[in-house]
Symmetry: D2
């Protein structure tokens, strides 16, 4: 499914977040380091959760874990600046869901990422089905997709 | 001199900077960790340099080093949010200068800091007198001080 | 090629690196955050470069960039502790190469990653063929692979 | 009291901790950035707490907060390397205590710090007297001081 989505296209995203680049994000080449870019993606996901999932089932941080994070670094980013992070649901499965994300700076796509999040039982660490409220909220957040 | 300045008072500052709190800044108590707060102070100083010193003498990052950083953590900060960092010159010496800084979140003062920066010769690592252009620019940035 | 390698198996790796977990790495759940784990992978790659590539062609940091980083987070890690990072070459292409990596803590595999690094011309930003010396060094670092 | 202690002297410290420098700690000048050095001090304090205070009164992290952190950056640190952090109690007051710390790399003192930690009631946020068990443990950790 993600293969069909161009994550460098701003029009596909459902939720937007902004972050400030810090001087401490710079690596020895004066580029924003990959660790900072990964933090931008994380902030996009946390904001997505607060915007779209938090009204459905209490604290959504419990029982959900990122199990797979695949990022493509596409262009260097510089300090100072403010990045925009787009996030969209790309897949809703039985006990997991997929997100597509991208970081933009001054109109250019700096990086894209695909993320798999699994719902699990904190006591047994085993995956368990997505609650219905979460499932509906996730499906609604596919709205940014072409034809969605 | 710094003893006479109330760094929790927004009116004393000459330059303002903003930063976004990141989820990754949180410590196990759900407070923004001290390392992130120290990064906010750093961004305030870099922005101060770019706003007030960069037109006077080329790249001001070379030959200046923070040698002393004293911070008082005054209140916890939470995610999400945008902090404001105020920076003011508190002292201009022969080969060093002092800055006063504070981080504010939602109107409350989260932390204050006093910083000593020394001008030095990168080849010998010995301190050397502040250039005249820098000295004038620094003295101008004391303007936020009461009676300044 | 990577599909055939079990990156959770310590025997496949060619170069090992160690890192200390920091209190500042902890997220609100008292787990080591993903950003820190990504830094461990980065240290594994830098050490790999210094151990295996640095004698072949001067400074190997110039003209090489990570363009793809795919990580699977497999188990939580706790503070304090010392992680071991294994790194192995999984593929040598015309102008790029692939690495497989894993982070271990107390014998357990915390995370695995696959990384694509591209050789490029810093002036044009276009990819260019791997130098022969680098190619040979990379192929030698596949030695940890079964049948390698 | 701290004025009388030379924190660049390894002999004054009661507890030692080690940390690994990470590539991600480097700033654009290829020096370890101040944020990383501050994390080393934090790890020294957490380890001090675990070594010296944890057997006296359960979880010592609750109800204690760093309110003042004053650091002197004395020499640049480089990657790769392993730092040693020394920590000693310099003062035991009614509801607070002082620590002296230093970070060493390859025998050289990179930075020193003085830290004030306050005991407080998490519900009211007001300071309260140090428990007797903690007081005794803190006084014992002044043993590294000359004449201690």
């Amino acid at each position: 499914m993600t293969d069909e989505i161009d994550l460098t296209d701003r029009d596909v995203f459902a939720v937007w977040t902004t972050d400030t680049i810090r001087y401490g994000d710079l690596d020895p080449n004066l580029h924003v380091n990959n660790g900072a870019i990964n933090q931008f993606f994380e902030d996009g996901r946390v904001n997505f959760r607060q915007q779209r999932l938090s009204s459905t089932d209490g604290d959504k941080l419990t029982g959900f874990a990122v199990v797979k994070f695949s990022v493509s670094y596409r262009a260097p980013a510089h300090y100072p600046g403010t990045v925009e992070i787009g996030t969209v649901v790309t897949r809703v499965g039985g006990s997991s869901y997929g997100l597509g994300q991208a970081v933009f700076l001054d109109g250019a796509c700096v990086a894209t990422a695909e993320v798999v999040t699994v719902h699990f039982d904190p006591e047994t660490s085993k995956s368990k089905p997505l609650p219905d409220g979460i499932r509906v909220a996730l499906e609604t957040a596919m709205i940014g997709l072409p034809g969605g």
